[in-house]
Symmetry: C2
Subunit: 408 residues, 2 copies
Amino acid sequence: MKNIIVGQSGGPTSVINSSVAGVYKKAKELGVEHVYGMVHGIEGFLEENFIDLDDYLSDNNNYELLKRTPAAFLGSCRYKLPKVEGNEDVYEKIFSILEKHEIDAFFYTGGNDSMDTIKMLSDYAKEHNKTQVFMGVPKTIDNDLPITDHCPGYGSCAKYIATSLREVIRDNASFSKNRLTVCIVEIMGRNAGWLTAAAALAKDETGEGVDAIYLPEVDFELDKFIENIKKLSETKSSIVVAVSEGIHDKDGKFICELSDGDRSVDAFGHKQLSGTATTLANIIAKETGFKTRAIEFSTLQRAASHIASLTDINEAEMVGEKAVEEANNGNTGMMVTLVRKSSNPYSCETGIYDIHDIANVEKKVPIEWIDLDNNQMKQEFIDYAKPLIIGELQPIYKDGIPQHLLRK
Amino acid sequence: MKNIIVGQSGGPTSVINSSVAGVYKKAKELGVEHVYGMVHGIEGFLEENFIDLDDYLSDNNNYELLKRTPAAFLGSCRYKLPKVEGNEDVYEKIFSILEKHEIDAFFYTGGNDSMDTIKMLSDYAKEHNKTQVFMGVPKTIDNDLPITDHCPGYGSCAKYIATSLREVIRDNASFSKNRLTVCIVEIMGRNAGWLTAAAALAKDETGEGVDAIYLPEVDFELDKFIENIKKLSETKSSIVVAVSEGIHDKDGKFICELSDGDRSVDAFGHKQLSGTATTLANIIAKETGFKTRAIEFSTLQRAASHIASLTDINEAEMVGEKAVEEANNGNTGMMVTLVRKSSNPYSCETGIYDIHDIANVEKKVPIEWIDLDNNQMKQEFIDYAKPLIIGELQPIYKDGIPQHLLRK
């Protein structure tokens, strides 16, 4: 491979840049001349908005900083490639840019929507006898890509959630039973509850943890929820509940829609959700008279690189390296996967898998991992998730604040 | 001093437990027999709900864990002592409990309201020739206690705010100018803007930081705010603004009240504020059509011990030790203060000051430290705040999550 290019797409994570670092590292080991980065994904690519990663990453200090930098260093996008039919000009433009810059391989880090881009480009290349290869590099805090055991980005987000919830539990328990506060914490995850399930990891040795967990995999019943809070209040002096932003009733109506009707829709047609915790906090206050508090982890959960999981950072780098290695072997139209060999002791390797089985498919939390009677996660989930949050990569502090690497 | 007692009051911080640790440490050095902790402050004290800190802190591992545990290890309260007149029974009860347990000194960590408790008890003791001494130990994320240069709890909260804002800025900048997002971050601080001002510390070497900062010390003008966002949008592809929960218009009407009328009131008669960021995000979306996002740091900012400032932890411990030392010297009705000797290099000592000049007085951010034209903080503030966020105390991790010390 003479030159290669890497891009970032979709919602950012704490470790998406470690995958870019991995792509760069392996490519340089293999003697690739230029490792380009597309600025703002395929959107920037179409404008030939590239940077040469040598300008940043040939300096090892910058390489280390990049691994500690959250969000998309290269810039991300939410551009969905149109169908080939009727849009041949877009595809011709993409391949002409690749040819012009002698780019032999194209790497894209992203989730379900981004893997669709790899699928369409690799299919087009095969059909038109193009030699360039296209590889998907998994990245999503949502952990909802199929085939792969888990997704880079998930572990760090889960670690943030468990750490912050434990702190919220401490804070909420500061006052006595006569000032009982019901704290409802909203966690990202539209259709898949992997992140909200990570709330279960906050439990400590004493058994003190989140009092109830509500995932979008299970239809939400408001009456039962209120009943559960009342029951908890009989014995607890502090109640902390974790809810997914995507919880909905049996008719599919989102709980946040109970309070306000219109919601904007993103480029992929997904409804923009928020306000689930606030909606529920208001309902509980009204129904029980308890003091309530709503907390939304919002983008903090996906950007908190200062408490990223070292396991996650290492795996994000690993999938970047693997993508380059496999592209160099001539593979295309594949996504790198993480293949768990063992949970205890934890061991995980990389593999590759046909992108057609991955793009646009969502993997949800298995219902049998949910303790429906107690609104908790079962041990199977704990065993699955716990290894993914282990380890820390010490931030590089300056003036008391973690440093990041920025594009010039 | 034969026995002493320490209590925690008011809203918790990341480092309030370090002050309890300091009280314990110094008392043991001085040969105090029992160091009691009141469970839930004066409220628990009145029920003789004590623990003996030896049961926890004679083990050095627990001492280290306590310094890393956020919120009130002993439990807090928001109990306001009634006036002596007509409530003599309450005061008699307090002193009879002290006498029964041979407690010679009473230490209370807290903010303005809690210092009032120390004032009333020490005044009562003097008037009734009681020998017990009462010392205030400063604690408040709000940094609004007078006389003291700053308050333990502030530095860690400021460090969390600066760190998280830098991460939010990275996240918000992931997308390109054609997906400009205006992110409005709400920070605690009802009347004093010290915490919101700490947003200025997020600025990095490249000058990239928060685009505007709005403190409650300055009347908020909605028209000018909208105008500023529009102006910023001309050159920026991402806008992040920090606002205090307590910003209000020239008539004193809180901005969050623009969207919803009724607000509950806490035990001290303070209005419960929230939703300022959401209110402004909705207004901006309507007025400009930009995508907006509201983030509330909520209790996360005061509980994030995993990113606490080592300077703050050390000073919190120091004020606890000083309180015991001065009580042992026979002082009463005083609060420990932090006295800055130099900002660069930073050096700070402890002092004591008459509680009458402190209780119920609020210290605000000096107007001359605010760059009113640019909605930013001036260098004077940066020089003041920067030393307070320096240093980290590595959490003690287990299964990937920081450990805390809990009461049995």
